[in-house]
C-alpha cells in the first residue's frame, strides 16, 4: 500500500508571473515581494484540505437548493436604468473603449 504523499504547492516565479498576466494585475516592487510571500503562505494554509478525503460527497455549489427561475421571453420586466452614459465616456451613442 502506498502511503498518502502530501505535495505542498509552492508557486514558482514563472507561475506567479503568468497569473499576474492572466488576471491583468500589475504590482509594484513592494507589493510583488509581499504578495508573493503571502500567497505561498496562504497556499500552505489551503493545503490542509489535502488531509480530507470526501470522495463521494456531493458538491454544494450553493448552500441551499436554488430552484430554477426563468424569465418569459418578453420585454415586460425590463431592468430599469437611468442615464446609461452617465458613468462612461461616449461618442455618438457608443461607449468609448481602449484600443484593440
Amino acid at each position: 500500500m502506498l502511503g498518502i504523499i502530501v505535495l505542498y504547492l509552492k508557486m514558482e516565479k514563472g507561475e506567479f508571473e503568468r497569473l499576474l498576466k492572466t488576471a491583468r494585475i500589475e504590482l509594484d516592487e513592494e507589493e510583488y515581494s509581499s504578495i508573493e510571500k503571502d500567497i505561498n503562505e496562504i497556499l500552505r494554509f489551503f493545503d490542509k484540505l489535502e488531509n480530507v478525503s470526501l470522495e463521494n460527497e456531493e458538491l454544494a455549489f450553493h448552500p441551499v437548493e436554488i430552484p430554477e427561475k426563468l424569465r418569459d421571453d418578453s420585454t415586460e420586466n425590463k431592468n430599469e436604468i437611468e442615464n446609461i452614459f452617465y458613468n462612461g465616456e461616449n461618442y455618438r451613442f457608443y461607449f468609448l473603449g481602449p484600443k484593440i
Binding site: 491583468r24 436554488i66 430554477e68 427561475k69 426563468l70 418578453s74 420586466n77 425590463k78
Partner: protein, 428 residues
C-alpha cells in the same frame, strides 16, 4: 485530414439571454437596448430566458444530442473591451446537448456539444480608441462544437449546408453570418483559425489552410500547433497570438444562476429536410437533388411537396419553380392547389397572375408629400432623434437610411432630397 468546427449561431428569441432587452429589433441606435445586466454593471444579475432554453434543447435534439437532464452554466474569464463582465456566461460539462451527430448521407459527423452562451458587444476598431455598442451584448447564442470528423473540403461544405438547413427548421434566421472557429490538421498538430465570419469565408479559410499545410508537409517542414486568423481582404490565414488558453479561462460554475431541469421540456421531433428529400425522391421517383434544393431552406415548399400525391408531384415541382420564376413569394397553399389543376406550362406572368386571380398591381412609388409627412412623423415621435439630428451626422445618416428603406427609394438624389426635408424641419 481532420476538420472540427465551433459554430456560433444566434437564437430566434425576442429578448436577450439573461435580461429583457430586445435582441434583434430596434437596434439602429447604438446602446439603445441595454440595461445593468448586459452592460455588466456592478450589482446586476442574470436571469435565464425560458425561450432560449427551449430553442437550445430543440436544436440539440435536432442534432441528435443527448439532452443533459440538468443543464448549468460556467464563467469563462478573459479580457477584451467587448466583454462587459470580464467573463462570458457559457456552458461546458453541463451543456444542454452532448454526444450528437449530423448524418451526411450515411456518414456521421459527431457533435461534441451544443452549448448556450451570450454574445459579447459589438466593437468597432478606431485608430486610437474603440467604440462599443452593447446592443449585441447578451444576445443568445448556441455554440455547436463538432468532433474532428470532417475529412474533406467537400464534406465541410456538405456539413455546413446540412447544419444550416437543420437550424433553419428550428426557426433560426438563416441569413445571419455564422461565426465559426475552424480546427484543421493535415498532420499531427492542430491549427485553429478563430472567428471566421460567414460560410464563404469559412470555406476559403479551410481551402487556404489545406494548401498551406500540404505545402509544409511536402517540403518536410513542421506545422505549428497555433491559432491563426483569417484575413478576408487577402484571402489567407495568418498566425495570431493566442489570447487565453484553456488553463487560463479558469472555468467555474456560474453561481448567479442555478441548475435547469430539461426533463420537463417538450421537444417536438425535428424536421430534417435532407431526409425528407430522400423520402420524397423515393416515394415519387423523382430527382433527389431538385427536391433538396427546393426544400432545404423553404418551409412552404416542404409542406407543399409532402402534401401532394405521387401523380401530382412532377407538376407540383414545376409549379413551385414557376411561382419562383415569376417572383411570386406570397402565395398560399390554396392558391397553389388552385394552380395545380391548371395547365401553366407555357404561360407568361400576366396570364399566370390572371389565372391566380390577382390583378397586376403596379408598385406605386411614394410621392414627395408622402415622404415629407413620413419624416415629420418620425421626428415628432422621437425627441432624441430630433435633438441629435441637428448636430450629429450619424443620426442624420441614420434617418436618411430609415426613410429610404421605408419608401423603397434609392440613389443620391433621393438622399439629398430627404436630407433637405429633414434639415428644413429641424431648423423650424
Amino acid at each position: 485530414m481532420k476538420i472540427g468546427l465551433e459554430v456560433h449561431v444566434a437564437l430566434p428569441t425576442k429578448t436577450k439571454l439573461f435580461c429583457s432587452d430586445l435582441a434583434y429589433e430596434n437596434q439602429e441606435e447604438p446602446n439603445s437596448n441595454v440595461c445593468p445586466v448586459c452592460l455588466g454593471l456592478p450589482g446586476a444579475k442574470p436571469v435565464l430566458n425560458q425561450n432560449a432554453l427551449d430553442i437550445s434543447a430543440r436544436i440539440a435534439k435536432a442534432l441528435n444530442c443527448e439532452i443533459n437532464e440538468k443543464t448549468w452554466f460556467v464563467r469563462k474569464v478573459y479580457f477584451y473591451p467587448d466583454l462587459p463582465k470580464g467573463y462570458q456566461i457559457t456552458q461546458l460539462d453541463g451543456a444542454i446537448g452532448i454526444k450528437g451527430y449530423v448524418d451526411l448521407n450515411g456518414k456521421k459527423i459527431g457533435i461534441r456539444r451544443v452549448q448556450i452562451e451570450e454574445d459579447p458587444a459589438r466593437i468597432i476598431r478606431e485608430k486610437d480608441y474603440s467604440l462599443i455598442d452593447f446592443n449585441r451584448s447578451g444576445v443568445p447564442l448556441n455554440e455547436i462544437v463538432t468532433e474532428p470528423d470532417i475529412t474533406s473540403l467537400e464534406e465541410l461544405k456538405n456539413f455546413i449546408e446540412e447544419l444550416r438547413s437543420i437550424l433553419y427548421y428550428q426557426g433560426v434566421n438563416i441569413n445571419q453570418e455564422l461565426k465559426t472557429d475552424l480546427n484543421i490538421s493535415l498532420a499531427e498538430k492542430r491549427v485553429e483559425v478563430k472567428n471566421v465570419t460567414g460560410v464563404k469565408n469559412l470555406i476559403s479559410a479551410a481551402e487556404y489552410e489545406i494548401k498551406r499545410q500540404s505545402v509544409l508537409i511536402k517540403e518536410g517542414k513542421k506545422i505549428n500547433a497555433e491559432t491563426r486568423s483569417y484575413k478576408e481582404d487577402s484571402n489567407e490565414t495568418v498566425s495570431s497570438r493566442e489570447k487565453e488558453t484553456e488553463e487560463e479561462y479558469g472555468f467555474t460554475f456560474e453561481p448567479d444562476l442555478t441548475f435547469y431541469d430539461t426533463t420537463k421540456l417538450t421537444i417536438p421531433k425535428a424536421v430534417i429536410a435532407s431526409n425528407i428529400a430522400k423520402e420524397l425522391a423515393d416515394k415519387n421517383e423523382y430527382n433527389e437533388k431538385t427536391i433538396r434544393e427546393l426544400i432545404l431552406f423553404n418551409r412552404r415548399n416542404l409542406s407543399l411537396l409532402t402534401s401532394i400525391s405521387k401523380e401530382e408531384f412532377k407538376k407540383g415541382v414545376s409549379l413551385i419553380e414557376k411561382f419562383a420564376s415569376f417572383g411570386i413569394e406570397d402565395y398560399s397553399e390554396q392558391e397553389f392547389r388552385k394552380m395545380l389543376d391548371k395547365d401553366v406550362s407555357s404561360i407568361e406572368k400576366e396570364g399566370f397572375l390572371q389565372l391566380l386571380g390577382r390583378t397586376n398591381k403596379s408598385e406605386k412609388k411614394a410621392d414627395k408629400t408622402e415622404i415629407e409627412a413620413g419624416i415629420k412623423e418620425m421626428l415628432s415621435s422621437d425627441k432624441t432623434l430630433f435633438d441629435r439630428g441637428i448636430k450629429d451626422e450619424k443620426a442624420m445618416n441614420f434617418m436618411i437610411g430609415e426613410v429610404k428603406e421605408k419608401y423603397h427609394i434609392t440613389g443620391k438624389e433621393a438622399a439629398d432630397f430627404i436630407k433637405k426635408v429633414i434639415k428644413g424641419m429641424l431648423n423650424n
